[in-house]
């Protein structure tokens, strides 16, 4: 009797084990039965209702200026709040809270005409006072160290002209101002923040934010989810969706799993390893989107041995970038010549010096820079001493995989590169804060404007100019471009600047990554923009049944 029970039990356990060993991660059939009976329904246009679910990796902070508001907060804040401008569908700044704007002859004053039909989610009227408060009291308050305040270094103050007109007073012209005002610099309500420490007001920042956007907060549970509901008093086109849910899911594998199981609707895929599985799945689509990002390698320009431009050029010749794009990035990227990405169609050019994969040329350039293999160990030496490069990187996305390939390519031309992989936070402290590095690899994302002064102007050596590159000619061009608001003239300047960037390589430009935007097929109305920009148009999204 007892042994019979045991047999059944062991059979059960055995089948359980077999069940698991039988399913092969990635190789198994990923097809699932779709719920609809009629497989191909005709499009009947947008309709109200439904909800989308978006993953975020950590608890958000509902205040775009808060120093602890990172990417997971940005994707919510740009839906709850509105900025003066927003990225247009052509990526040029488009109206949002501001209907119109103009700059004075000398470029030192920008006047923004605001909408007069905007209400905060609590019913209060939005006015010029809110704009002035946001900038004067928060962004420009040096003690607060607000996010993105570095965009406004040239801003002296914001003046209220009347209820619906504000003036931005600048120290020197900033042509990119309307673009900066569309990038994580949303307006917060004066009537709630006045007299409060904007970082300590957790009843707003962590519980019940009050914005002006097309969705307002419905509920928030720490570690789980944020649910937004349609704002029926929204000043623009009211949203179709009833709700937007952001699920807090730290693990990237879970994002993929939940997309495939239909629990998530849309996000930008970071780890491209899963891309094929998603492409083969039913009811899910992947689209490639240009972004304003560029990947780079930097050689510390404060160190004498890296100051020769030939060394930087040689590094670029030594790396087969197309191969890395094809393998690690699964094709989601294009070779970069400068920092200005093809997403900025108005300004982008590839008519500059290009660096083909050419190890022989790399060796030649290195030899010209005085690097020779004097002891016959296959590695280059300088002045009789070993020439090694300390290559520090942080673990994030595909940086590690890419860096390992770079290390091999550089070894092949005789450069002894020691790869030092660090935890992200520790890498920032070493490379960015202390500038204690020789070589590093990373990427920048910037507002939709070609002004890259922050990253390569000599005035920003203590800021985001991490390679500490200094070149007065490039500075002049960057200054001219930053101050010129006439688009045609600006184009000329940036064509010139790009030629110089490609020639001088303040950064060793690698590629412009494309975003692999993954989403369920029944989600429609998402404009052809990168995920982050498309969120500005979430009121146009709808679910097709």
């Amino acid at each position: 009797m007892k042994s019979k029970k045991l047999k059944i039990l062991s059979l059960f356990l055995l089948s359980f084990v077999l069940l698991f060993s039988g399913c092969n991660y990635g190789g198994g059939s990923s097809s699932t039965t779709s719920s609809g009976e009629g497989s191909e329904e005709t499009t009947n246009g947008p309709r109200k209702g439904g909800k989308v679910t978006i993953p975020i990796v950590a608890d958000p902070t509902f205040n775009p200026w808060h120093p602890i508001a990172y990417a997971e907060s940005n994707v919510i804040n740009r839906v709850i709040f509105s900025g003066l401008t927003q990225p247009g569908k052509d990526l040029l700044p488009a109206p949002d809270l501001a209907k119109d704007w103009s700059t004075s002859e000398d470029g030192l004053e920008w006047t923004f005409i605001l909408r007069d039909d905007v209400k905060w989610h609590d019913g209060e009227k939005f006015t010029a006072e809110d704009v002035a408060f946001t900038f004067n009291e928060v962004a420009l308050n040096k003690e607060l160290g607000a996010n993105n305040s570095s965009y406004f270094q040239k801003l002296k103050e914001v003046q209220v002209v009347d209820d619906y007109t504000v003036k931005f007073i600048l120290e020197s012209p900033v042509a990119a101002l309307p673009a900066y005002l569309s990038f994580n610099t949303e307006i917060i309500p004066k009537h709630i923040f006045e007299g409060q420490d904007p970082w300590e007001l957790t009843s707003f920042n962590k519980q019940k934010p009050v914005g002006t956007g097309s969705f307002k907060i419905k509920s928030y549970t720490s570690g789980q989810s944020v649910v937004l509901e349609r704002n029926d008093d929204y000043y623009g086109e009211k949203a179709y969706l009833d709700e937007v849910e952001y699920k807090v899911l730290a693990d990237a594998n879970t994002h993929v799993a939940q997309l495939l199981s239909g629990e998530l609707s849309i996000f930008a895929l970071d780890d491209l390893a899963a891309i094929d599985r998603i492409k083969n799945a039913e009811g899910v689509e992947v689209v490639a989107r240009d972004t304003t990002r560029f990947f780079w390698i930097i050689l510390n320009q404060q160190l004498e041995q890296f100051q020769d431009v030939k060394v930087r050029q040689a590094v670029l010749h030594a790396i087969d970038r197309q191969n890395i794009i094809d393998t690690v990035l699964k094709g989601y990227g294009t070779i970069a010549d400068t920092g200005i990405a093809p997403a900025l169609k108005e300004y982008y050019t590839d008519d500059v010096k290009r660096y083909e994969y050419d190890p022989e040329q790399a060796k030649k350039l290195l030899a010209e820079a005085g690097l020779k293999d004097t002891n016959g160990d296959g590695l280059l030496d300088k002045d009789g001493k070993k020439f090694t490069i300390d290559f520090k990187i942080g673990i994030q996305g595909d940086i590690e995989a890419v860096s390992q390939m770079v290390q091999q390519y550089l070894k092949a031309v005789g450069l002894d590169v020691k790869l030092n992989t660090m935890e992200w936070n520790a890498m920032i402290q070493d490379v960015v804060v202390k500038r204690n590095y020789e070589m590093s690899l990373n990427w920048w994302r910037y507002p939709s404007d070609p002004d890259l002064s922050a990253y390569m102007h000599s005035a920003n050596v203590k800021g985001n100019n991490i390679p500490a590159y200094q070149n007065s000619e490039l500075d002049k061009l960057l200054d001219a471009g930053a101050q010129e608001s006439d688009v045609e003239k600006r184009k000329e300047i940036y064509l010139e600047a790009q030629k110089m960037m490609a020639e001088q390589l303040p950064y060793i430009f690698l590629w412009y990554p494309q975003e692999a935007q993954v989403r369920v097929e029944k989600l429609k109305g998402v404009p052809d923009l990168a995920f982050g920009d498309a969120l500005h148009y979430i009121n146009e999204w709808y679910i097709e049944e």
Partner: protein, 315 residues
């Protein structure tokens, strides 16, 4: 008994002090800093402003003394990553971890003792081998892998169970929603806890059943089930209680991997957040909580010893 309690309290206080001292210096001296000061885009000026606002411009030892003073008054500060009080953040998450722990322990203890006894009784027979084999698998298969496999099977292929989250709570609470979210995480945790209990029960039972009084019991004609469950198991329980006493704090301090995979918002996910963001006050708060749990569980185990085995008094 009173002297025993005072002794234990004193020991615990010293332990707590040492643990917090080590942790405080470790986290503060580890490379990197609070993530708000370690944003790649932040300028030197912005970083400096935030460092001052967080009070990190003071030397570490002064900050420790300050932290200790406030801690003794029950104030564990505000979390760097959310600006909310540390205690509030822990209390928000703790119930979820307790929930997982209770289900896991109850299921594991019942099944573990049951299979352990069977394994001991059927020593060397098929049943014993099967149970041993499955136990070894449970111990050696990594939780993250098994977790992903379960998600692949039950969430993606069959679409039976939700792949993550804790399910609707509060007003929207619904029984199946709750249970369906619990199944996979509890299953994973059980596979890591259960084998320990099974194996300890087995060896403990084997030791006890070979003793003379068991032979006596059998000789006097007691039923086999009485011999096993009344005479043997009671005495075999002591080591089992010890292992359970060790497993509970481990689960309560958050099954980090399991919670992360299933988006279970307990202490485990909070630990990841705190460590990743170099949230010093939160790391310290969690450390104190876990230390207290360990101390408390040990105390309970000692107390239970004396109840199960009257010979063990006033250890």
């Amino acid at each position: 008994m009173l002297r025993f309690m005072i002794n234990r309290a004193g020991q615990s206080a010293i332990l707590l002090l040492i643990v917090t001292l080590i942790t405080f210096f470790l986290v503060n001296l580890a490379p990197g800093g609070p993530s708000s000061t370690m944003r790649m885009e932040a300028t030197e000026e912005e970083r400096q402003a935030i460092v001052e606002k967080l009070g990190l411009d003071q030397p570490v030892h002064i900050r420790y003394v300050e932290w200790l003073k406030n801690g003794l008054h029950g104030d564990f500060g505000t979390s760097f990553t959310s600006s909310e009080p540390v205690i509030q953040r822990i209390m928000e998450r703790l119930p979820y971890t307790i929930e997982l722990t209770i289900f896991t322990i109850v299921i594991s203890v019942i099944l573990g003792i049951f299979f352990g006894v069977i394994s001991a009784v059927k020593r060397g027979k098929v049943g014993d081998h099967v149970i041993n084999f499955v136990s070894v698998i449970g111990l050696s298969v990594p939780a993250f892998w098994l977790g992903l496999m379960l998600i692949l099977l039950f969430s993606i292929t069959f679409k039976w169970l939700p792949s993550s989250g804790v399910g609707p709570r509060g007003e929207d609470f619904e029984l199946w929603g709750w249970i369906s979210h619990l199944i996979m995480p509890v299953l994973i945790l059980t596979t890591t806890v259960l084998p320990h209990i099974v194996r300890f029960t087995r060896s403990s039972m084997l030791e006890v059943t070979s003793q003379n009084y068991i032979r006596t019991a059998r000789a006097k004609g007691a039923k086999e089930s009485v011999v096993l469950y009344v005479h043997a198991l009671r005495n075999a329980l002591i080591p089992i209680i010890t292992i359970i006493g060790m497993l509970i704090p481990r689960l309560l301090s958050g099954a980090v991997i399991t919670e992360a995979i299933f988006g279970w918002t307990g202490i485990g996910t909070l630990i990841i957040e705190a460590a990743r963001g170099r949230d010093y006050p939160l790391v310290m708060g969690i450390t104190v909580m876990i230390t207290l749990v360990v101390v408390f569980c040990n105390l309970i185990v000692d107390f239970l010893y004396s109840r199960v085995d009257p010979r063990v008094k006033n250890v």
